[in-house]
Symmetry: C2
């Protein structure tokens, strides 16, 4: 800090860019030297743990977020209520594969979130496909009564791993729906995972009214390779029991806190999602985004920043299995007569922040690129057109032209942990997490300061 104070004294007439650099340097100093992100994430992961919507832990996380935000003396700490699905994994999740010659191999399975159970032991011959299109192109009746095994894995040649994830995701989301239409008995999905290991990865899937609802589970990439190898030479039968189930919808809440701006009804929303899947601790997905968002508002408050717009931190509930939190928040803020000017989400883990993706027009991308030049010295270098975040995405419809950002984070390791038992606190590096919080606070600051003075408004 001292070196910058000296610089300040020597230069009486600072340009805007220099004062921005000085303020952002203060954000980074506070985050790196006195940051709360890591301790807050530890508490969320270890005092609470996994927290799927509707669970006791999810409700605990809401109370946790509310109490923590109140401890920072922020404005308008409040809960916003909405209705959401409630699904439970149950106690039984087992399966194995076997051949006519008596070979047998236990599978590590995780039911996909939202799947129906098997109602006892389910057995069927396995048919492997590399995707929904391939399955639909098979002769009629081919998959009827069978267990469809979706085995398209990650394309390693993607440099950003979210591309590889996106290219496989339809198998998990819609595989059961489409296989059910063709009369299949169940589906098993190669985990949407970057590497080869023994951990299955769960995740969301959906059915449609009027269509068959068949059970769906993920198997580890290693098990998928074993199964594929067996299928090259022999018929394979799968045996599986899942007792997961959908329960009645629950009432739950988003958690919010603000620093009220000079123009109080114009809002910059930033957040992550407080819910997680029901395995591991939801450390990278999305405890990190929660830690980033809470710390961003704490940093700006601690530094005495007086915003033009109202800065609102939102801890969204129910991103993983419904996004009802994001949808209800967009309607709620609209109904209050607020104007949402920008929204930022962190939902790509607690690894090294590299910049922000801009979901918007070419003009908005250019405006952010110009604005963000000052962040290059803080090692934020990537500002490109891209996605923002699931929770904030409903704001686009309610507030056309809103500036939408998603934090761009080193993705190389993310899909080793995503939606598994080992998405735990220990997988997060303290400095990388604190840097993410500083990045979010800095971007909020820049937008608050300059939006309306350039192309984006």
């Amino acid at each position: 800090m001292r070196k910058y104070t000296l610089l300040f004294l020597l230069m009486p007439a600072l340009s805007f860019a220099q004062s921005d650099t000085l303020f952002i340097r203060k954000i980074y100093d506070e985050a790196l030297v006195n940051g709360h992100s890591y301790r807050n994430l530890r508490s969320l992961c270890k005092d609470i743990g996994a927290r799927l919507t509707g669970s006791a832990e999810a409700e605990m996380a809401i109370r946790w977020g509310e109490a923590l935000l109140r401890s920072y003396s922020l404005d308008n700490v409040q809960l916003q209520e909405f209705k959401a699905p409630h699904w439970e994994r149950g106690n039984t999740e087992s399966g194995w594969i076997s051949t006519e010659k008596g070979r047998l191999h236990q599978l590590r399975l995780l039911a996909l979130g939202g799947s129906v159970g098997t109602e006892g032991l389910l057995e069927g011959d396995v048919i492997e496909v590399m995707g929904i299109d391939e399955m639909q192109a098979l002769p009629p009746g081919t998959v009827k009564g069978k267990v469809v095994f979706f085995n398209r894995g990650f394309d390693q040649s993607y440099i950003r791993t979210f591309g590889a994830y996106g290219a496989c995701g339809d198998q998990r989301r819609s595989g059961a729906l489409e296989a059910g239409k063709l009369g299949a008995k169940a589906v098993i999905i190669r985990s949407l995972a970057q590497n080869h290991d023994h951990f299955p990865h769960t995740g969301g899937m959906h059915y449609e009214d009027g269509q068959p609802r068949i059970p769906a589970a993920a198997l580890s990439t290693n098990d998928a390779d074993t199964l594929a190898l067996w299928l090259q030479s022999t018929k394979v039968k799968l045996s599986m029991e899942l007792d997961c189930r959908e329960l009645p919808d629950v009432m739950t809440h988003n958690v919010m806190a603000e620093i009220v701006g000079q123009d109080p009804k114009s809002v910059i929303t930033f957040g992550g999602h407080l819910d997680s899947w029901d395995v591991g601790e939801g450390a990278h997905d999305d405890g990190a985004g929660i830690a980033h968002s809470i710390e961003a508002i704490r940093l700006l408050k601690a530094l005495g920043y007086k915003p033009r717009y109202t800065l609102r931190c939102v801890l969204f509930m129910n991103e993983e299995n419904g996004n009802n939190g994001g949808q209800s928040y967009a309607k709620w803020t609209k109904a209050r007569g607020e104007r949402q000017v920008a929204a930022i989400e962190s939902d790509r883990g607690g690894f090294l922040p590299e910049g922000f993706d801009v979901e918007g027009t070419d003009e908005q991308v250019k405006w952010v690129k110009d604005l963000a030049k000052v962040l290059y010295d803080f090692r934020l270098s990537r500002f490109e057109k891209g996605g923002s975040g699931v929770d904030i995405s409903p704001l686009k419809d309610e507030f056309p032209g809103i500036l939408m950002l998603g934090m761009d984070i080193n993705s190389q390791e993310y899909f080793d942990h995503h939606h598994t038992h080992h998405d735990v606190f220990e997988q997060v590096n303290k400095r990388e997490l604190e840097l993410g919080s500083a990045a979010m606070a800095s971007m909020i600051y820049l937008i608050d300061r300059y939006l309306g003075e350039g192309a984006a408004d």
Copy 2:
């Protein structure tokens, strides 16, 4: 790959930039889909392990590197001989602190590389200083007969952790020399570490002829905090035994392989260092740089690249305690009448590559920045003036004007592992390592293709 082939067919008249992008895309495809970096690093770490110059393991690593390079059918695989120091840790490394009231605490110590032993049990009162300057400003005689405890830690506000390391490093390198001049009995150094844990970090130090040689050891950051706390309220005695020792110099080797260019006597040198400290497995420091360098030449060979300059991969020995490998290589290539046009080093770990530092003139920095624009799409974004690498640095004196680069790698976690028992293979992520190899191969390709056509030549 398929999508790029299609693109190629649709565009008969490609510009240079497009053909560069296509070739670099092939480098990345090969590295990410069929890469050898991770398996080679595993072999170096697990089949050999730690490999300090002069040890049997260091010699094993030389044979390993030679055999591996030969297996890739490269040109002129050879060893280059030189003399280097040989230091051994010995078997005893123990210490504790105690007070007059009988409090006692065991320390986890690691002798600094090059330290003399204690010749039995050494005991002395501890005096804490925050640096060499502070020690030298004490009244004459203050440290005489005492154990000097250098306790200046990392400044967390640095965004790149190498800055924090550099700001503490004099304590480790010169603390014993300067304390010895003032009559101290021994020194203990707070580990040059980013975080708070129980692992001491070793590293190099030096004496001077004609000055006292006193023992020097690192203690863990947690132990340093405990000791500092005790010293606030009481006198503390340190007891320590080290049987490390210097042995006679040894003859050892750098390992080299080439793809000979059209202009065979003009050389682009790239490498890392094959030796490591004698704890852990030297995975990040610098097994990763070795894996990067070997893979870079394999990638270019596998893709059939025909270089203008001779591309020479050098596995340097003795970086950690002497840099005799780097020095002798610079003299060796000069004596052969070669012209070194560029040199690239990877010695900052196997984490995410972010770009390259340029050690050179402003014109060279600008030339690299312009050249590297094509790498932005491969998520390499940082091209700034900075350091290159210890091993290649002697080339600067022999070949004035040579273009010097050091790979810029995410440094946030590096000093959690550096020079410790847990710098092991398991701490390296496969994709991040393979991306580093692709980055090095791509930069070699661009320099080979364009050097001489711009400002850098």
